[in-house]
C-alpha cells in the first residue's frame, strides 16, 4: 500500500478534568501531532456514539513536545462535547491534526492577546511561542479559566459579563479603558468580540490576526463547508475562504465578519 499517512489517530487520554463549570481540560498522548503543531492550529476530535460523524474542531491550547502531550480545553455546548466529556482517563479518542494555518508570530516587541470564553485556549501556546512583551485581555461570561496558565507570560486583564471576577462588562471596554496598543493584536473568541477587536485594531492602526469559528464538514479543506467572507482581491465585494484551511486565523484587514 502506498498511502503513507493515516489521518485519524487514536490517542490515549492522559488527563481529563473540569477547569470550570462545563469547561474541561483534556490532555492527550499525541507525539505526532505536537511535533508539527503551531499556535492557533486546531485538531478534529471524533465522537463514538449517537450517529455523530462530523468532527469537533478544538484549538490546540498547549503542547509538550518532550512528553508528546497535547493539551486541549473545551466547553460542553452540545451533544458531541457532552459525550466527549464523559470519556475517562485511559480511554482512547480519534484525533486528526494539526489542522489550519495558525497564527503568524510577529517579530515586534509588544503583543496584545485577546481571548473570549473558549477562544482563550489557543492563546496559551501562542503566548509561549511569542518573544517580546505580551499583554493579555480575557473576557468570560462568568467563571474565568486558564488565567494562571497565561499569567506566566505577561499581565492578564479579565472581564466577566456578570462581574464575578475582574471588570464587569466586555473585554473591549477594558481594552479601551487601558488604551492598549502594540505591534500585533491576536484574538480568538465569539464573532461579536472579534468584530469589536477588528474595529479597535483598525481604529488604532494595529495589525490584527483573528481566529474564526465555523461549522465544519471535514476540517481539512475537502468540502468547502466552513467558509467566511474576505474582501475580494479587486476590492469590490467579497470572496469565500475556507476557515479550516485558509484559516482559522485571518488578517483583520481582510476578513469580513458579517
Amino acid at each position: 500500500m502506498c498511502h503513507e499517512k493515516n489521518a485519524r489517530i487514536p490517542c490515549t487520554i492522559m488527563k481529563h478534568k473540569a477547569l470550570a463549570e462545563g469547561v474541561y481540560e483534556l490532555v492527550l498522548e499525541a507525539p505526532g501531532i505536537v511535533g508539527e503543531a503551531k499556535a492557533g492550529q486546531f485538531v478534529n476530535l471524533y465522537c463514538k456514539t449517537g450517529g455523530k460523524l462530523l468532527p469537533r474542531p478544538i484549538s490546540i491550547c498547549e503542547t509538550d513536545r518532550e512528553e508528546g502531550l497535547l493539551r486541549l480545553v473545551y466547553a460542553v455546548v452540545g451533544s458531541g462535547t457532552r459525550e466527549i466529556s464523559g470519556y475517562p482517563e485511559g480511554d482512547q479518542i480519534e484525533v486528526m491534526g494539526p489542522l489550519g494555518n495558525g497564527y503568524t508570530l510577529d517579530q515586534g516587541a509588544r503583543h496584545v492577546l485577546v481571548g473570549g470564553g473558549v477562544g482563550t485556549p489557543p492563546l496559551v501556546e501562542l503566548a509561549k511561542r511569542l518573544s517580546g512583551e505580551k499583554v493579555i485581555y480575557l473576557g468570560f461570561r462568568t467563571q474565568p479559566y486558564l488565567v494562571e496558565s497565561l499569567r506566566e507570560y505577561g499581565p492578564v486583564h479579565v472581564a466577566t459579563d456578570d462581574g464575578s471576577q475582574g471588570h464587569k462588562g466586555t473585554v473591549l471596554e477594558l481594552m479601551e479603558e487601558h488604551q492598549v496598543t502594540g505591534g500585533m493584536l491576536y484574538a480568538c473568541g465569539p464573532t461579536p468580540m472579534l468584530r469589536a477587536v477588528q474595529a479597535y485594531a483598525l481604529a488604532k492602526g494595529i495589525p490584527s490576526q483573528l481566529s474564526l469559528e465555523e461549522r465544519m464538514g471535514c476540517g481539512f479543506g475537502g468540502c468547502v463547508g466552513c467558509v467566511c467572507k474576505v474582501r475580494a482581491e479587486g476590492g469590490e465585494g467579497f470572496a469565500y475562504k475556507k476557515v479550516c484551511k485558509d484559516g482559522p486565523v485571518f488578517d483583520g484587514k481582510e476578513v469580513l465578519l458579517t
Binding site: C2, H3, K5, A7, G50, L53, P55, V224, G225, C226
Partner: protein
Amino acid sequence: MRMEVEIAGVRLKNPVTTASGTFGSGREYEPYVDINRLGAVIVKGVANKEWLGNPAPRIAETYGGMLNSVGLQNPGVDAFMLEDIPFLRRFDTKIVVNIAGRTVEEYCEVVEKLRDADVDMLELNISCPNVKEGGVAFGIDPKMAELATREVKKVARQPLVVKLSPNVTDIVEIAKAVESGGADAVSLINTLIGMRIDARKRKPVLANKIGGLSGPAVKPVALRMVYQVAKAVDLPVIGLGGIMTGEDAIEFMMAGATAVSVGTANLLDPGATMRILDEMEAFLQENNIRDIRDIIGVVE
C-alpha cells in the same frame, strides 16, 4: 484478481471513484490517498463562470449523515482547466468533470469549453438541491432531463454520465428519459433534501434553510434506487450514497452498479477510498471471486 471495469468505453482500473464535491480536485487528499490507485476522480462541480456558493453555515450534522448547502461554489471552468486538469493529469487515473449549470445554455457552455480538454468523461449534475435558479428542475422532470441530456450530448466530445436526483417519485422514469436523451451512463444518487432546526435559536441550522443529506443514513434509499435503475435501463450505472466500507461498495455493485463513488466518507476520513478499495479486494479474495465484473447485478 481483476478489478478493471468499463463505463461507456472508458476503462477504470478499479470501480472506486470519488463523489463530486467531496474530493475537490484531489489536492487536499494527496497526503492520504495514492491517487494513482483510484478508478477515477470525479471532481467538484464546475460552472461556466465562478460561483460564490451559499452563505455559511453550510454544514449541519444529522444522525448518521450530514446536510450541506455549499451551493456549488467553484472558480469556473477556465480556472479549472488552467489549474486542476494539469494537477490531475500527473496521476494515472481517469478524470471525470462534474458539470454545474442553471440553464441548458450554461451546461453547454461548460461542456464546449471542455471539448478539447484532456478529460475522460463528463458527469452532468441535474440534481443539485442547493441551487435555486433551476438546475434542480432538470432532475425531477423527465422531459427536462431528456432535453438537457440531448442538448449537452450535441456538444460533448467525451462520454456523458448523467447524475440523478433521489428526490423524485419515480427515478426509473428519469433514468429512462436521460437514456432516450442519449446519456452514456447514469450515476445515482445525489443528496436527499433535508433540514435541521436549532430549537434554542428557533431557526434552521443552515443559512440556506434546506440542504442535501448524505452519508450512511441515506444508503438504503440509494441502494434501492440503484437496484431499480440498473434493472430498468441498458446504461452502466455508477452507484453512490453512503458508501463507508468495501462491503457497502460490493452491495452497490451486486445491485447493478458497474462502478461506485465514495462521497461523505472522504470527509470523515481522507483515506477512505484506499481503505474501501482494500476491503473490496479482501472481500473478493475471501469469496473466491476472480473478476469483479462477476458480481455486477447478481442480485435478482
